[in-house]
């Protein structure tokens, strides 16, 4: 029994070590030519552009729901004028970055894990290696870099959609004009409330890309491996994004003390 535990622990530590080496290789290879710009563009289109409908619709829905939830309580305390600012701050600081990252982990992470695992199962990765082409550089690096670049942009879209649907909600319920909503929403918002949380999503993008590619690229179990890679990619990248969020929020508070409420 204890031997089994030791074997399990050894395997877990080995997997963590391999994942760490994998991510270091991503960083090293990202700065090494050739830069695979055409594949990077393809990935940006797939991960960024094709995720946009999901991000926009979720941002609109979340913004609408959040206003409905908060306005009842705030109006009770006579703080209805704060609704736009609370909406804006909560989207910029936390809801936008985190929800966008989790949505991308679900859509893009599963896709990356499954597609690489399928390429492994159908010997396409072996075929690339047999052609003397570095499969890691060709398949993994553009995916991770695209995820890292796409997520801050998608987060910005989610923030804007959340604030806009907050306005729509307020406009229909209390006939607030757009000018007044915008003035109230951005009254207490500073650049430091927007830029550091948005930039931190690049780290989320790196985590989602690396974790998903790790599970897809290193699997070797045929169809079962594809299923496992897709599931593990979503579960592990979502979990790590949430853990990283806690750490990064603390770092942002240290670097920008004014953003700590």
């Amino acid at each position: 029994m204890s031997e089994r535990k030791v074997t399990g622990l050894t395997k877990a530590l080995e997997a963590i070590g391999n994942a760490a080496l994998f991510s270091l290789r991503v960083i090293k290879d990202a700065f090494r030519a050739p830069f695979e710009l055409s594949y990077l563009w393809l990935e940006l289109t797939d991960q960024g552009w094709r995720s946009l409908p999901l991000i926009v619709s979720c941002g609109l829905a979340l913004g609408f729901v959040m206003t409905l939830h908060t306005r009842t309580e705030l109006i009770k305390f006579g703080a209805g004028a704060w609704i736009p600012e609370i909406q804006c701050l909560s989207f910029f600081v936390e809801i936008g970055p985190l929800v966008a990252a989790l949505l991308v982990a679900g859509r893009v992470g599963a896709g990356m894990g499954a597609s690489l695992a399928e390429m492994r199962a159908t010997e396409q990765i072996d075929a690339i290696e047999a052609l003397s082409i570095d499969s890691f550089k060709l398949l993994v690096v553009p995916r991770v870099v695209a995820c890292l670049l796409a997520l801050p942009l998608l987060t910005t879209f989610m923030d804007m959609c959340g604030v806009f649907s907050g306005f729509l909600s307020e406009h229909f319920l209390s006939h607030l004009s757009l000018q007044l909503y915008v003035a109230r929403a951005f009254r207490g918002v500073e650049w430091s409330n927007f830029i550091p949380p948005t930039v931190k999503t690049a780290v989320f993008g790196f985590i989602i890309g690396t974790v998903s590619c790790f599970f897809g690229y290193t699997t070797n179990e045929g169809a079962e491996g594809v299923r496992r890679a897709a599931t593990n990619s979503v579960v592990m990248s979502s979990l790590l994004v949430i853990v990283a969020d806690v750490v990064l929020v603390k770092i942002i508070f240290i670097m920008f003390p004014g953003t700590a409420l």
């Binding site: 396409q124 075929a127 290696e129 047999a130 003397s132």
Partner: protein, 245 residues
């Protein structure tokens, strides 16, 4: 003692294990330049593994593999890439890149590994696709190709860099007799100027294309010789495999 340096490919006491299963045990054989060897054996005897060892997609636990006089078991990185460029590999399921068109499947190695202009790449791809009878299909995705077309496309990709050594895994598996015969014809066209190692279950095709047969049985080299020599081999499995019964 065999002089490995004169051989295009040589396996010297090669063993390979997956977990607790030993797939190849102490296998030794060599292939002369422009010779065609067919590797026969029952399923699971390590035939495809042998090909993957030769192109260094797998590493052996013991023994050495020589390509044009160079031991590849110790090579990595750029040095390994340089040796691999001498070889073309047709995978059992063709392993075409499903995110690229047929044209781009062939263009990828040319763009990445040569300094040819787009016009030259265009001409090479047209010539190779014409050779394999797929000149009208270059804009198709692998998903749109039939089994036989995929095999021919895989062969075209293996040939596009004009390799000295061609490794072919089951060229006729899953194909009807006529299509399999067409693939054999394509291989015969390569025979004059290319060293070929073909893993096959199709003895009739192997007899048309192969100069010598290597027969593997339970991961061991059971026999090596011309088809005529092996027809009367003392090992019954070898006789049955070579006669195709």
């Amino acid at each position: 003692m065999t002089d490995w340096k004169d051989m295009a490919v040589a396996l010297d006491h090669v063993s390979k294990t997956f977990g607790e299963k030993q797939v190849l045990r102490d296998v030794t054989f060599s292939v002369a330049p422009r010779e065609t060897i067919c590797v026969l054996g029952r399923s699971g005897t390590g035939k495809s593994v042998t090909l993957k060892l030769i192109i260094a997609l797998l590493k052996p636990e013991a023994g050495h593999i020589w390509i044009d006089g160079e031991d590849i078991t110790q090579l990595e990185g750029q040095k390994l890439s340089r040796v691999r460029r001498k070889m073309g590999f047709l995978f059992q399921n063709a392993a075409l890149f499903d995110f690229l068109t047929l044209y781009d499947n062939l263009a990828l190695p040319l763009r990445r590994l040569t300094h040819k202009s787009e016009q030259d790449i265009d001409e090479i791809i047209d010539r190779v696709l014409n050779e394999v009878g797929l000149s009208g299909d270059k804009k198709k995705l692998p998903l749109e190709l039939s089994g036989g077309m995929k095999k021919r496309a895989g062969l075209a990709r293996a040939l596009v860099l004009e390799p000295e050594i061609l490794l072919i895994d089951e060229p006729s598996s899953g194909l009807d007799g006529i299509t399999a015969s067409e693939i054999d014809e394509l291989l015969l066209q390569q025979k004059e100027h290319t060293t070929m190692i073909i893993v096959s279950h199709d003895v009739h095709g192997a007899r048309r294309v192969g100069d010598r047969f290597v027969v593997l049985d339970h991961g061991r080299l059971a026999a090596l010789g011309t088809p005529e020599e092996l027809e009367h081999h003392e090992n019954e499995t070898v006789r049955r495999l070579v006669r195709g019964v």
